[in-house]
Symmetry: C2
Subunit: 208 residues, 2 copies
DNA sequence: AATAAAATTGACGCATCGTCACCTTTCTCT
DNA sequence: AGAGAAAGGTGACGATGCGTCAATTTTATT
């Protein structure tokens, strides 16, 4: 009754191989079903149905529906994080620092629209936050780097916690707005956000 | 089996009187139980138990658990909104406008800590957003007023949607941080937020 | 007082959850 | 290779919570 074909050539025991495959299958099914039905409406059984596994098996991999969702968020976070780190390291001024971070984040949101939209769709009804320790790890590193940047003189000497909070707030709320637009423009969004913080918003007049 | 004593002296039919009383009783019980158990863990029965009413009665007043929660949020929003409007109207510069709004919001968050904390506690696990049409009405008016302000020259001519989004993001994320601090200071928070937007963050150096 | 209207009640049927005893597959060791 | 052990998969089951609804009680109307 198992429809799973193993194709991974890596040297792993069959056990590890199917475990990994199952885990991924559940995640894939979950992403799909969440997108179709929304978080609230999908049941654990809906998810497992898409994998050919038995209902009980789900619980060998995840504790609950919420945990799968969280795992999906983590997957997304993992995909942005390297780029964020990259940007952070190559910035030499605060403005570069900000523009790089915002651009990476907004671009990701537009690119991986599926993942982000899925998350957003679920946001409406009932929501697992994106700023849990796991998901926000990139931004937590951000706070550390802001501390660092202050020492190095790259970042102004302001309350790092508030600064981080404000940046996160700007990023997420603007992203929400952006994806609702007809033609989302990450560069424009990043410019706006950057100007708002470093220069005052006068810098980016809105063309009507 | 009804433990409710009517004490409202207003001239209302007994029907209206108990209806209003029941509605409020459910809301009060809900706030308490949500705070104790968290949104996810409380059941509709947990809520109704605190009122002496029967389980079916709950559904005469609210459609679901989520709806009560939303109603509680609306109650809170209703409490801030007049002050927000007040601030908005009396501002003559953008800076005043911002500082007023931020201060009202942060002060409310600190004052009505119970309501806000309840909300926050639930935020973690699973969350009903604060930016639904109802809750955010104050901020929706904000967007309208920003449009207005642009016309009047009080608010800089920038993309109003992004500006609103950014302000909301700053407000909520900073509020989250603020309430976690030992000695939350709404004035300092409002100063920070205002400086961040109007003047660039250099204006408020952080004392270490 | 009789009748109508409205609201309350709690038992019921339904759905989902998470568990667990049993079974199948994979691993290990000689 | 084969036997025993360990890991993992299975699906039926008990438990829990939901929302409904026919019956009942309470309030309004005439």
């Amino acid at each position: 009754m198992t429809q799973l074909e193993a194709q991974d050539p890596a040297r792993l025991g069959k056990r590890e191989k199917t475990k990994a495959a199952n885990q991924q299958a559940i995640l894939d099914a979950a992403r799909k079903v969440f997108a179709e039905l929304g978080y609230g409406a999908t049941t654990v059984r809906d998810i497992i149905r898409g994998t050919g596994l038995a209902s009980g098996t789900f619980y060998n991999y995840f504790k609950s529906k919420e945990e799968v969702f969280q795992a999906l968020m983590d997957e997304s976070a993992l995909r942005v994080r390297p780029a964020l780190i990259q940007e952070r390291l190559k910035a030499t001024t605060f403005e570069e620092f900000l523009r790089g971070m915002f651009l990476v984040f907004f671009s990701y949101v537009v690119d991986d629209n599926r993942a982000y939209t899925m998350m957003r769709a679920n946001s409406g009804q009932i929501r697992v936050r994106m700023d849990t320790p796991e998901v926000i790890a990139g931004f937590d590193e951000l706070r550390v780097d802001i501390d660092d940047g202050i020492e190095r003189g790259v970042v102004p000497n302001v309350d790092p916690e508030y600064l981080t909070a404000a940046l996160i707030g700007i990023a997420f709320e603007m992203a929400d707005r952006m994806v609702q637009r007809d033609d989302p423009d990450p560069i424009a969004a990043a410019d706006f956000a950057t100007a708002l913080v470093v220069g005052g918003i006068d810098l980016v007049p809105h063309k009507k």
